[in-house]
């Protein structure tokens, strides 16, 4: 197992190197010169040249990449060109806020999604099943940005319960902090619930028809024990894989949600840095996202192996 984890971690490092190369080559194709961006459109050409030399922008691309990587490893992510602050603390702040949002959404998606799936499976082909199916269908069918507008319309504009957008730190008070978190979380949860609930439903239906569930019922076990201990434990395996994928989907989702709700997390930082051509921020943010994404996938795989005794990575089944 340890060998397997080490091998996977090594692969993640390789993937990150490749991602950083990809990001670096794409951003180096950006039209305007960085020096031009910093000095503005009216800067005299000799100043632009001087800054280009100072920033090393005329060096070969691989030299620039190497310089960037060596700095990156020492956690010197460079300075944001627009905010005139080092990137690392900006990124750490944004990551922490996004993590709050994503984790809250993830926990709710897992909890509500699995429960809805189980309920729908137990009421297979009855009205409640169809209601759940249609509701979750709506969730994936509609883009997140549309749901976020509906949430703003209902909870902020009409009911006036929640602020339409923005973010307040925890130090401003727990309720204020929570209120700003609710609307984006609801939107994320609704937009991503369907995968989990639909998969749980279909694997539950399959498992409920299996011989060992019939056997458990024949033994006279109470229905609750049959459903939770026998059926659900086995039906959850595919759900866990999908939950892992959901971490990735959520990280994509925050890009739009954070922009709509003006929530200053990683997604908004990314859109901002692309719009403003803030390269150091953009490069660092993408690599951080890829790293989190890869680690989440690894955790999901390990969890899957741990829950499914048939799979044991790194050694043959005894």
């Amino acid at each position: 197992m340890a060998g397997y984890v080490l091998r996977r971690l090594f692969l993640i490092v390789l993937v990150l190197i490749a991602v950083s190369l990809l990001v670096f080559s794409i951003t180096s194709m950006l039209p305007a010169s960085v020096a031009h961006l910093i000095l503005g459109p009216f800067a005299p050409p000799e100043q632009v040249k001087a800054l280009e030399i100072k920033l090393g922008l005329n060096d070969p691309i691989l030299v620039q990449y190497w310089r960037w990587v060596t700095r990156f490893i020492t956690r010197d992510f460079g300075s944001s060109m627009l905010m005139d602050r080092p990137v690392a603390p900006i990124l750490a702040e944004a990551l922490q806020r996004s993590a709050t949002l994503t984790i809250a959404a993830f926990v709710l998606i897992a909890g509500i999604g699995v429960s809805l799936g189980v309920i729908a499976a137990l009421r297979h082909n009855r009205p409640l099943d169809h209601v759940v199916s249609i509701a979750t269908y709506l969730g994936i069918a509609v883009p997140e940005f549309f749901w976020s507008i509906v949430v703003i319309l209902v909870f902020a504009a009409y009911l006036g319960w929640l602020p339409a957008s923005g973010y307040e730190p925890l130090s401003a008070g727990f309720w204020i902090w929570l209120k700003h978190l609710i609307a984006p979380t609801i939107t994320l949860v609704f937009a991503h619930l369907a995968h989990v609930s639909r998969l749980t439903r279909s694997s539950m239906i399959e498992v409920l028809q299996s011989a060992y569930v019939t056997a458990a019922r024949a033994k006279g076990l109470p229905e609750r024990v049959v459903v939770v201990r026998h059926a659900l434990r086995n039906a959850l395996l595919p759900t866990i894989t999908v939950l892992a994928l959901d971490i990735g989907r959520l990280m994509g989702g925050i890009v739009v949600i954070e922009t709509v709700f003006a929530y200053p997390g990683l997604g908004r930082l990314l859109v901002f840095s692309i719009q403003q051509r803030d390269l150091p921020t953009l490069q660092a943010a993408i690599v951080v996202v890829a790293a989190v994404y890869a680690l989440a996938n690894l955790v999901a795989d390990l969890l899957y192996a741990w829950l499914n005794p048939k799979i044991r990575y790194g050694r043959t089944v005894a």
């Binding site: 390789l14 993937v15 794409i26 890009v255």
Partner: protein
């Protein structure tokens, strides 16, 4: 889209009724495609004529879905925008199929180092959430809708390649492929004349679902300002522009939102119906029907 799906259903054994989802999906998507295609002739008002006097009209008999902040008819814009969203989604999917399928075929057929290299590249591309990869690609050029389609198509190449690869893995050891190899046919012939025609069913299911994701991703990019540009009436852009007026004129945002909802549900239903017809989990069966046909 509708025609494509019907063809996809064709190789299944005859005289089985079409699944209900497939019928419902075809009906919805067919209606939207038809309305969008006929948009220039059936739109009740010009989609881009600005008029101060008709700003923010709520839905009425003259303006079924109301008017927007420039006094333009929302229904007419919706109909014209449908063409853009559909074209973008289908265009992006075609791009990802054109590039993804050959990559998948090659990886699955040759295996070994080739497979390993191609799939690791796919892993790298999939290590970045789709929307961020799309943003990154679009960051380097001034935005336009066709570029969004290309970016979205590019983002989905590895996904299509994966499906194509797994189908090819199943087909590469089938007798008619062995026979072709024994005849010393070229690899290109085996890939595109022997394997590809039999790999279509699962690929079509995947592609039809990809259209949905492509429309959603493309509209999200448009929404973020990296797709269609004003005064275009792409649905994502329409919703984005309507955001500022959400409390006084919610219909401007709701109309394209519901339209998109309907379209995506329709395509999803087609995908589900097709999957029921040609269940990809029963790969053995697909390979067997393929054998019979060959």
């Amino acid at each position: 889209m509708a025609e494509l799906s019907l063809e996809g259903a064709a190789p299944a054994p005859p005289r089985r009724p079409l699944p209900a989802q497939l019928k419902a999906g075809l009906l919805i998507v067919g209606a939207i495609v038809l309305l969008s295609l006929l948009a220039p002739w059936i739109a009740p008002h010009p989609w881009d004529t600005i008029s101060i006097r008709t700003r923010f009209q709520p839905p009425s008999l003259t303006y079924w879905f109301g008017t927007d902040d420039y006094g333009r008819d929302v229904l007419s814009r919706l109909l014209m925008g449908g063409r853009l969203s559909l074209a973008m989604g289908i265009g992006a999917t075609i791009i990802s199929v054109l590039f993804g399928v050959p990559v998948g075929l090659i990886a699955g057929y040759f295996g070994g180092k080739v497979d390993e290299t191609l799939m690791r590249i796919a892993d790298v591309l999939m290590a970045i959430p789709a929307i961020m990869l799309g943003l990154l690609v679009l960051a380097v050029t001034p935005p336009a809708l066709w570029k969004t389609a290309v970016a979205v198509g590019f983002v989905y190449v590895p996904l299509i390649a994966r499906v194509a690869r797994s189908v090819t893995l199943g087909l590469a050891r089938v007798e008619f492929v062995e026979a072709a190899r024994a005849r010393a046919e070229s690899a290109a012939h085996i890939l595109f004349r022997e394997i590809l025609p039999n790999a279509w069913p699962p690929l079509i299911v995947e592609a039809s679902l990809r259209v949905t994701y492509a429309i959603l991703l493309g509209s999200a990019l448009s929404f973020l300002g990296l797709g269609a540009q004003p005064p275009s009436s792409d649905w994502g852009l329409m919703i984005s522009e309507a955001r500022a007026f959400i409390d006084r004129a919610p219909w401007i945002a709701l109309a394209p939102g519901f339209a998109m909802c309907l379209l995506v549900i329709g395509i999803n239903l087609i995908g589900d119906g097709l999957r029921e017809r040609l269940d990809p989990r029963l790969k053995g069966q697909i390979a067997q029907t393929a054998k019979v046909e060959a």
